[in-house]
């Protein structure tokens, strides 16, 4: 956690997924109808993200390859 840039690139995705999860958990609790659908979609994002990188670790594209201070593919190192 040295430079702010570093911090940002490490935590952007986790923070985004955390906020989406939080939104999903609360939207289903506080709302009905369309809020339930939004909650399902919001919760699908962290699940989908986790599964995508777990099952297809070498696939290119999608988000997350935003590291500015190193090679985009760690196994190239």
């Amino acid at each position: 956690m040295s430079s702010p840039g570093n911090f940002q690139s490490t935590w952007t995705m986790p923070l985004l997924l955390a906020l989406l999860t939080l939104f999903g958990l609360l939207a289903a609790l506080l709302g009905t109808g369309v809020w339930h659908a939004l909650a399902w979609l919001a919760l699908l994002v962290p699940i989908g993200t986790g599964l995508r990188y777990s099952l297809w670790p070498n696939a290119r594209g999608l988000t997350g390859r935003t590291k500015s201070d190193g090679p985009s593919r760690s196994d190239h190192r």
Binding site: A28, W40, L44, Y53, K67, S74
Partner: protein, 387 residues
């Protein structure tokens, strides 16, 4: 992060995880069917009802209580529970109120069609009922057949799990410093691959795992929290009744009068259960009714009404203290039963991902590298130079 602080966090992560992982794995696996307990119950024992015109009014609770007394003249009715989803009412009986307090499994129920008053089912005493699959799952999930001691023990495991999640998140930062989000290094050792998967799946489930872990802890505290409320707020409401003899069955106002009084006193609340005077879970001088509101949130927040046992006056419609509100809001957030079937499936997937996080954590520990050495090595970016 300073090396020393990191070693500390690594130690916290290691030990909190090590102690709770085995229990958490069982909790995750037993929790899986519990997510779908309503559906499984409906499938195991489908309830079939006579067709009746929609909007048929419910039978008086007095009729149901009387029917129960006729069938079991030597016993006491302890409570009536009216279902929201199905036209059914459960009338619970016990040999005596003392027996119920001493030996809760001595109770049993009669299930009625709440519209016609027709008897649908006669249970055995709970002590004689064979333990079904779902009961096994629930007990293994919540108390390990050890009652309050088991609840507190598993509550402590939930606390350790939350500590493990928090410390794991702290370690995620330095660990991912040189890595793009989601990178899973597959080319080298299996251990490194599982380490990346552990980090990835741990961080994507962070909020869910924290919420379900923490609300699990709160749920395990329900027994002491309700006892606290009984001993403080409820005792205060009962002070004016001190010294009064307990109402006899003949002098009781009857459950229907109590329900009507509560409903009139709290129009926004839908009352679904009546605890009879004398029950250890109620008051010696009141019918205690439990109801819930009609908004998405308040439908999860149960509210009591104390109705005078003799004249059916509303004694109190107490507000729940903050700790019981916290408990009530913890239930849906733990069970995942508040957003339709899709939410239950999402809960199940997240539960399974948590199993992978727990299992990979255990594997990483067994795989011989101490977490501590691992984390510190990572900051120097010299991990896995050896196979």
């Amino acid at each position: 992060m300073k090396m020393q602080a990191m070693r500390g966090w690594a130690a916290v992560h290691k030990w909190s995880s090590l102690v709770c992982t085995a229990f958490l794995l069982i909790i995750c696996l037993t929790g899986l069917p519990l997510i779908f307990s309503d559906e499984i119950r409906a499938w195991q024992e489908p309830h079939i009802y006579d067709p009746m015109p929609a909007g048929t009014t419910a039978t008086s609770l007095d009729v149901l209580a009387q029917a129960a007394h006729t069938l079991y003249p030597g016993e006491v009715v302890t409570s009536i529970y009216m279902d929201d989803d199905e036209p059914q009412a459960y009338v619970w009986l016990a040999p005596t109120f003392e027996a119920l307090e001493r030996d809760p499994p001595s109770q049993h129920y009669l299930r009625f069609d709440s519209r016609t008053g027709k008897l649908l089912e006669r249970s055995q005493r709970l002590s004689e009922e064979p333990m079904g699959f779902m009961t096994w799952m629930r007990r293994l999930h919540t108390d390990w057949f050890a009652g309050l001691a088991g609840e507190l023990f598993l509550g402590f495991m939930a606390l350790l799990f939350v500590v493990a999640v928090v410390s794991g998140t702290v370690l995620y930062g330095p660990f991912m410093k040189k890595q793009a989000f989601g990178s899973v290094r597959t080319g080298r050792s299996a251990r490194l691959r599982w380490l990346d998967l552990h980090n990835l799946l741990g961080i994507v489930t962070l909020v869910w795992a924290s919420v379900v872990g923490f609300t699990g802890l709160v749920n395990e505290l329900s027994t002491p929290l309700f006892a606290l409320w009984q001993r403080t707020d409820v005792q205060e409401l009962l002070t004016p009744y001190h010294g009064q003899p307990q109402a006899t069955r003949e002098s009781l106002a009857g459950p229907q009068a109590a329900l009507d009084a509560a409903q009139a006193g709290a129009p926004g609340v839908h009352f679904g259960s009546v605890i009879f005077p004398g029950s250890p879970f109620g008051s010696p001088h009141h019918y205690v009714l439990w109801g819930k509101g009609d908004s998405p949130l308040t439908s999860r927040m149960f509210r009591p009404a104390l109705i005078d046992a003799r004249n059916a006056d509303v004694t109190a419609l107490p507000e729940m203290p903050w700790y019981l509100r916290a408990l009530q809001i913890s239930r849906p957030l733990h069970f995942g039963d508040y957003g339709g079937m899709p939410l239950k499936w999402l809960w199940a997937v997240l539960d399974l991902i948590t199993v992978v996080v727990l299992g990979s954590g255990l594997y990483l520990w067994i795989a011989r590298r101490k977490t501590q050495a691992l984390r510190t090595a990572q900051t120097k970016d010299t991990t896995e130079v050896r196979p």
